[in-house]
């Protein structure tokens, strides 16, 4: 039972950064923009949040700093992709490389000492319930925030006019422009939101998940988040499920090592990457399913005519 609780809560926690990053990217892609630079934005967020903690700022400030760092990084991408109409693949890659450079640069002064991690909050009364308490009500606040973001984004996309505007811009920015919506401005907001979420994901990694600075500590999580959006066929609920699936994979790998499975640790470490490929293959085979919720203008530069 102890093991089950450990695996379950571990999964939820490991999925949290993926939920942030992938939900952010979902909103960006729904607006028809493809930002491949999640890994870079996450690293910037991770580095800044970690720095803020070591510099003595409070935890909320550090987390907000991380989120803002992600947003600032996304702005670089936004200017290139939205104002300068750059190839979005290239701009995203540049951001990924740049972000890893900047975070490594910042991280040179962090040393190798761990920091005090974000505290868990035991929700009064509920956390004392047998079984359910330890399973569901003893997480740090960001875990709950991630779930809250899921609800908020689902509601925003499918229940509000602003969400409808965002989705339809993703289908056809030309049409949105023709009926009078400021396509570029809305896309900027989406990109910034995506950056904020990626920064939050990075901050979660460095101040809550593994409160220890390691260069390139995201280890491909940003790319996995990208894959999750495809896997989810651009639907929030599936992003959530996918993130849990991958979180579970990560925990299995950790527990597998702990349980002393007779497999090279590298093989276990490769599991999330292998799983990403398998999942992508399974979901991509059916073009019709992909097309149904696919933002038709994804990664196509748009410039208002006239």
């Amino acid at each position: 039972m102890e093991l089950f609780i450990a695996i379950f809560t571990g999964t939820i926690i490991a999925a949290t950064p993926l939920i942030f990053a992938a939900l952010g990217e979902l909103v960006v892609e729904k607006s028809g923009v493809l930002n491949l630079g999640i890994e870079g934005m996450m690293l910037m967020g991770a580095a800044l949040a970690f720095w803020a903690v070591t510099a003595g700022y409070s935890m909320p400030v550090a987390i907000i700093a991380g989120a803002l760092a992600g947003a600032a990084a996304s702005l670089l991408f936004g200017v290139l992709a939205l104002t300068f109409l750059t190839n979005q693949y290239a701009a995203g890659l540049a951001l990924a490389i740049f972000g890893s450079g900047v975070s490594a640069f910042l991280g040179r002064g962090f040393g190798s000492a761990p920091i005090e991690a974000l505290h868990r909050v035991d929700i009064p009364v509920l956390s004392d319930l047998p079984l359910i308490g330890p399973l569901l009500f003893r997480f740090d606040p960001l875990v709950y925030l991630a779930l809250l973001m899921f609800v908020a984004i689902s509601w925003f996309l499918y229940r509000t006019k602003a969400g409808l505007i965002l989705r339809t811009i993703g289908e056809s920015p030309q049409t949105s422009h023709a009926i009078g919506y400021p396509v570029i401005r809305i896309r900027y907001m989406a990109v910034l939101f995506g950056g904020l979420m990626a920064g939050l994901a990075g901050a979660y990694l460095s101040v809550a998940y593994t409160p220890l600075w390691v260069e390139n500590m995201t280890a491909g999580n940003g790319w996995i988040a990208l894959a999750l959006v495809v896997f989810a066929t651009w639907r929030p609920l599936r992003v959530l499920l996918g993130a849990w699936l991958f979180g579970g994979m990560t925990i299995l790998q950790l527990q597998g090592q702990a349980l002393g499975l007779q497999v090279p640790s590298e093989l276990l470490s490769a599991l999330p990457y292998l799983a990403t490929i398998v999942v992508l293959v399974l979901i991509s085979r059916n073009r019709q399913v992909l097309a149904l919720h696919f933002p038709a203008s994804l990664a196509k530069p748009f410039r208002p005519a006239g």
């Binding site: 006019k161 409808l164 289908e171 056809s172 049409t175 009926i179 009078g180 149904l292 038709a296």
Partner: protein, 511 residues
């Protein structure tokens, strides 16, 4: 009283073209005002300027006597100006009511908006179901959605851009009834068209544009077609020479029981399509767009392949499973509907674009592109088809629509095809180039090539085709001989109504 809308000295230039040059016009409340002109005369630009979707370089717009500054579509809507686009501003992936909510200024309350849509659409005789997804709607239904969307705003001025190009003749009559009802209620209507008969039937006044300039204003009901036409195209009206066809014994293209599922659910399934085209004749395919033309054309060109190899035969050889380049070896040439991005690579030069389909004609040897030969080939096309371009090194995207179309048609004809497949030969092409392209197609067929033309312009099909087919919901009608059919009959077939039996039997026998 102030006019509802007044334009004073509007000018607008794009790089290389003056779209509008010192255009002035004035529209009274309740007036139906035509803006008449050929393709490329500057009508659409002018409408965008009126609506605020584009900004004039100079000139002024007054609405009810007030100067409009810092113009944009949102401001237009606030002033009561609404626009129905030629290519609809609808999103396919969401429902009718969501589409309308996007341009409604009211609170985001879908159920009550849906109710209003139902009511209003019934009142103006064009019922629509607000909860259907737009991708499930026919083109005519989509136009209704557009019009209802505008009407919900209780507009003072309604702009319609070529509204009938997607409608059957019968649907046009209904649309005109709705427009007259609106005008009678005091709404001004700007009706953009290049079709003289429609303007004469519907409009009170007309402003005629040519090359971006106003060439005259008229009361169309009191003016002859000839006078209007002269204002539109200048003094010289192009003439067509169509000699009688002498079809070959054996068909060059045979399509037999071709059925195919649509590739995504935005498309149309083809059901049991059969027809043939002989050498020396032109067969046309009429139909409202979105009834399976795109699917049929892709299957004929090889861009989409079919498992049943003998469903399509070219020159007697089963070809349905062949790729486009393999079909070209059998003598197929193809002018697609989209010029930029399909018929030509926008960023590539003309000589490079010549290589696209002419690579078996000496422009490639030993795996290497022969630039000199490719340039010569492209120069030949430019010369023979009077393409206005800055040499063979000009990029495809730098050419005007008409000139690029001449280049593509020229390239395909230079391949000396046995079978020419042409989709929308003169879409967006100015009048001079249209006449030239049509004449070229006719001449090619009279020299023995089998030609299959897909077009939404009935006038065009009636002008050049020997036989006509009609496609509706993925089914293709039996062939009709052009000289013994009329628009009425084609129009009925376009709506999918079957003709009475003896008539169709008659047609089938005539061939």
């Amino acid at each position: 009283m102030h006019p509802r809308l007044e334009l004073r000295n509007i000018s607008k230039r794009y790089p290389g073209v003056v779209a509008n040059d010192d255009v002035s016009l004035s529209i009274q409340p309740g007036e139906i005002h035509a803006v008449l002109g050929e393709n490329g005369a500057g009508k659409s630009t002018l409408m965008k300027i009126i609506y605020g979707a584009a900004q004039a370089d100079s000139g002024e717009i007054y609405c009810d006597g007030n100067l409009i500054t810092a113009h944009n579509p949102a401001m237009s809507r606030a002033l009561g100006i609404e626009m129905v686009y030629q290519h609809f501003a609808l999103f396919e992936s969401v429902s009718v009511v969501e589409n309308i909510a996007l341009s409604a200024s009211s609170a985001f309350d879908l159920p009550s908006l849906a109710e209003k849509i139902r009511e209003l659409s019934l009142r103006y005789g064009m019922p629509i179901d607000p909860h259907r997804q737009v991708h499930d709607l026919s083109v005519g239904e989509r136009q209704r959605v557009e019009i209802v969307r505008c009407l919900l705003q209780a507009p003072k001025l309604l702009i319609l851009d070529e509204p009938t190009s997607v409608l059957t003749p019968q649907a046009v009559v209904k649309l005109f009834d709705t427009l007259r009802q609106l005008a009678a209620e005091g709404c001004s209507i700007v009706y953009i068209s290049h079709k003289l008969d429609e303007v004469q039937e519907l409009c009170d006044t007309a402003t005629v544009l040519r090359n971006g300039k106003v060439t005259g204003t008229a009361r169309p009901k009191e003016t002859t077609s000839l006078e209007l036409a002269r204002m539109m195209v200048g003094s010289k009206l192009p003439e067509m020479h169509v000699s009688p066809a002498t079809p070959s014994e054996k068909p060059v293209l045979e399509v037999k029981n071709l059925s195919a599922k649509a590739r995504d659910h935005f498309g149309v399934d083809l059901k049991d399509v059969s027809f043939d085209v002989r050498g020396g004749e032109i067969v046309g395919l009429a139909g409202v767009s979105g009834n399976g033309q795109a699917e049929l054309v892709a299957l004929l060109s090889g861009e989409r392949r079919h498992t049943q190899d003998d469903a399509i035969k070219i020159g007697g050889t089963p070809a349905a499973g062949l790729r486009p380049d393999e079909r070209r070896k059998l003598g197929l040439a193809f002018v697609p509907e989209e010029r930029l991005g399909r018929g030509a690579v926008p960023s590539h030069t003309l000589w490079e674009n010549a290589v696209l389909t002419a690579h078996r004609f000496g422009t490639v040897s030993k795996g290497l592109v022969d630039r000199r030969k490719a340039s010569a080939f492209a120069a030949g096309i430019i010369d023979r088809f009077k393409v206005k371009a800055n040499g063979t090194g000009a990029t495809a995207q730098s050419l005007s629509g008409g000139n690029l179309q001449k280049f593509i048609v020229g390239r395909e004809i230079a391949l000396a095809p046995k079978l020419l497949l042409v989709s929308q030969p003169t879409w967006g092409v100015d009048v001079g180039a249209s006449a030239f392209i049509r004449q070229t197609i006719v001449d090619l067929s009279r020299a023995g090539t089998a030609v299959f033309v897909v077009s939404e312009e009935l006038d065009e099909l009636f002008e050049i085709c020997d036989r006509l087919l009609v496609i509706c919901k993925g089914r293709v009608s039996p062939p009709l001989v052009r000289t013994s059919t009329d628009r009425e009959e084609i129009g009925l077939l376009m709506t999918g109504r079957t003709m009475n039996k003896d008539r169709s039997g008659d047609v089938a026998l005539q061939d």
